[in-house]
């Protein structure tokens, strides 16, 4: 790694394009938005940068605070559910025969290769009133009714006159289902990485010393997978918090998240300064979460080295 000192020209030639790219397409636009967040709207497209804090103050309006809280709530539940669902999946993959593991991991990664929009619309087809969940339920309803008919109990209408499809779409539940579906891989992959790295003789030692599977899981597996769990929690939570498409397509009127509000500011409301301020608040929260992760990682790295 020291060789770049001897060939500074080569070093700069190689690193110039990516640096330029980063500056022009990432840092510069980001800075512009940052500057905008201290501006005032002027006319239809004009922005007058007056270094006012009014946009940030406005973000703490109860209306927006509530949406922030709701976003946290959605992201939190999503992260928790991903952990609860993802941990058994990660364990299952870790302990599968070696030749099946790549296939199973591929199944986890596969959705990444499909456009989010398509996946979300597919989920709509599954969850809507005339969707596959309701079709399945209806099929069971008819079969159950058939049994009742056979038993001569059809006239009591135990199961109701008609099948009542469940309203699975356009509400908060649909948003959480969608978010969990989209973010599950973010949880499973770091968990799998942590479990796969773990020396399995720790688990055998625990069993050998008299602990059951349950005890072993909480006293040995979870603490040893701590780094993976924290990574999983944070890299699930951050994108879930900034979700915009899922609540937009699957949610009802009361299930919008902060990203939806931001999108509206930039588009229909045409209030770029306020949108910029909200964006930066969301980013600060993200940085905060990453800082926590870095702090906790410092605590576990010493342990991992053992």
């Amino acid at each position: 790694m020291e060789s770049w000192r001897r060939h500074p020209l080569v070093f700069w030639l190689i690193n110039l394009p990516p640096t330029l790219w980063l500056v022009v397409f990432f840092l510069l636009p980001l800075s512009i938005i940052w500057v905008f967040s201290f501006g005032e709207k002027e006319g239809v497209i004009g922005i007058n940068v007056t270094w006012t804090l009014a946009n940030y103050v406005r973000a703490f309006d109860p209306l927006y605070l509530e949406i922030f809280t709701k976003s946290f709530w959605f992201a939190g539940i999503t992260t928790f559910l991903c952990l609860v669902i993802g941990f058994p999946i990660a364990i299952f993959i870790t302990f599968s025969p070696a030749r099946w593991r790549p296939v199973l991991l591929l199944l986890i990664i596969l959705p990444f290769w499909t456009n989010l929009l398509i996946r979300t619309y597919a989920l709509i087809a599954v969850l809507r009133m005339r969707g596959y969940v309701n079709f399945t339920l209806e099929w069971f309803w008819e079969k159950a009714n058939g049994v009742l008919l056979f038993l001569g109990l059809d006239n009591v209408a135990l199961l109701g006159e008609r099948f009542q499809p469940l309203e699975l779409l356009y509400n908060n539940t649909a948003v959480v289902i969608g978010l969990v579906y989209v973010h599950l891989p973010f949880m499973v992959l770091p968990l799998y990485a942590a479990l796969d790295r773990m020396d399995k003789s720790y688990l055998e030692a625990s069993l050998d010393l008299g602990a059951g599977q349950f005890r072993t899981f909480f006293a040995v597996t979870v603490p040893l997978a701590k780094a993976g769990i924290i990574s999983g929690l944070i890299i699930t939570f951050i994108p879930a918090l900034g979700s915009f498409l899922t609540p937009d397509l699957l949610g009802g009127t009361d299930s919008q998240m902060i990203a939806n509000v931001i999108e509206r500011q930039f588009k229909s409301a045409n209030d770029w300064p306020f949108g910029a301020a909200l964006s930066y608040l969301l980013m600060y929260i993200t940085f905060f979460a990453l800082a926590i992760r870095a702090l906790m990682a410092r605590g576990t790295s010493a342990m991992e080295a053992a």
Partner: protein
């Protein structure tokens, strides 16, 4: 019917992995209470699989394992009266030494007041008194192994299993630990079963050794018996160094078998009188003498040319090649500080031994 003289009874145990691999093939061993027992063999001989079946981490494909008269079938590892010291030690990195040792007591519901003293006692036993608050990453490899030992012994198991316990230690520490393990076993009086690929380790520690190859026990005997009276070529070759000569049974002479060895003539050997045809004659290097003028009256010998001398400090191994192209090694103790160079490469010497020091082996 529990047999008081048997702690672990392995009956016709077979372990197959898939359809093709038979790791352990119809092994039957009885291990006595208080015995220091070694499973010895090259890697892949099935010794670790057998140990893992005793621990309950692998299930036998066929056969039965009894511990203290109780059939272990269907009994999970955490309910067996045995504990194991893992090759990697598996000392929990997120727990202090004390918590590691206390873990097994806590999970099996030992009263809190009893845990502290028992942990201290166990740490004392492995000479780690006062190390309780340390974390595993503050310990050396040898100390971590002692923690693993203390953690297993604190449970007062009927049997302690040790999987290659010394393989991760450096040579000096390994030797000290061999003596330490024997001392520990005498103190606690528990049956120890140790898996090792290191024949010196097994010979110096165990009361009895089962030598395994290809999933089967080739010989089960005391260390001295394995060394002085191996029952097959594999054991003779695996345990210690040996000179293996080819011979042919020529007849009987009283209680002894006359074996025709090329370049020597008929050699009377004690052994199985039923043996016929081609046989092996094994002579340990230290049973041989180098003589310049032919074998003594009670000896037989082969003349060879010194090809190489390997100096080991206390002993030198002299490698000779005879007229038939056979390679022979003779151990020459370095009794004196000087004058060790009396034997030189290129010289002709007689490798001589007394027939009663040779071992008759079946083909």
């Amino acid at each position: 019917m529990p047999d008081n003289d048997v702690m672990i009874s392995i009956k016709e145990v077979t372990k197959r992995f898939g359809n093709t691999v038979t790791a352990v093939d119809q092994v039957s061993i009885d291990i006595r209470p208080g015995e220091f027992f070694a499973l010895l063999g090259p890697s892949g001989c099935g010794k670790t699989t057998l140990l893992r079946m005793i621990a309950g981490f692998e299930l036998p494909s066929a056969g039965q394992i009894l511990i203290d008269g109780q059939d272990m079938e269907g009994i999970a590892p955490n309910h067996r009266p045995i504990n194991m010291v893992f090759q990697s030690y598996a000392v929990f990195p997120h727990m202090s030494v004390f918590d590691n040792v206390a873990y097994g007591l806590k999970v099996s519901g030992v009263p809190r007041a009893e845990i502290g003293p028992r942990v201290e006692e166990s740490l004392d036993l492995v000479k780690l008194a006062g190390y309780g608050p340390r974390m595993p990453d503050q310990l050396s490899g040898g100390q971590r192994q002692r923690v693993a030992l203390a953690r297993a012994l604190v449970k007062r198991p009927k049997v302690l299993l040790l999987d290659e316990p010394l393989s991760a230690l450096d040579a000096k520490l390994r030797e000290a630990m061999q003596l330490e393990l024997v001392r520990l076993q005498h103190t606690v009086g528990i049956t120890f079963i140790v898996v090792t690929h290191d024949q010196k380790e097994a010979l110096s520690m165990a009361n009895r050794i089962a030598v395994m190859e290809e999933g089967q026990v080739r010989q089960l005997a005391s260390p001295a018996e394995l060394y002085e009276a191996p029952n097959c070529r594999f054991v003779a070759d695996f345990i210690g160094k040996t000179n293996l000569l080819q011979g042919r049974v020529g007849g009987l002479s009283g209680a002894q078998v006359l074996v025709q060895v090329e370049g020597i003539g008929p050699v009377p050997l004690s052994g199985d009188k039923e043996m016929r045809g081609e046989v092996g004659v094994a002579v340990r290097p230290e049973k041989m003498r180098l003589r310049g003028d032919g074998p003594a009256e009670d000896e037989v010998g082969i003349k060879g040319r010194v090809a190489e001398i390997a100096y080991f400090g206390e002993v030198s191994f002299v490698y000779l090649t005879d007229a038939q192209g056979r390679s022979l090694s003779v151990a020459v103790p370095n009794h004196k500080r000087t004058g060790g160079g009396a034997i030189l490469t290129g010289q002709d010497h007689w490798c001589c031994w007394r027939p009663e020091d040779a071992i008759l082996l079946p083909e």
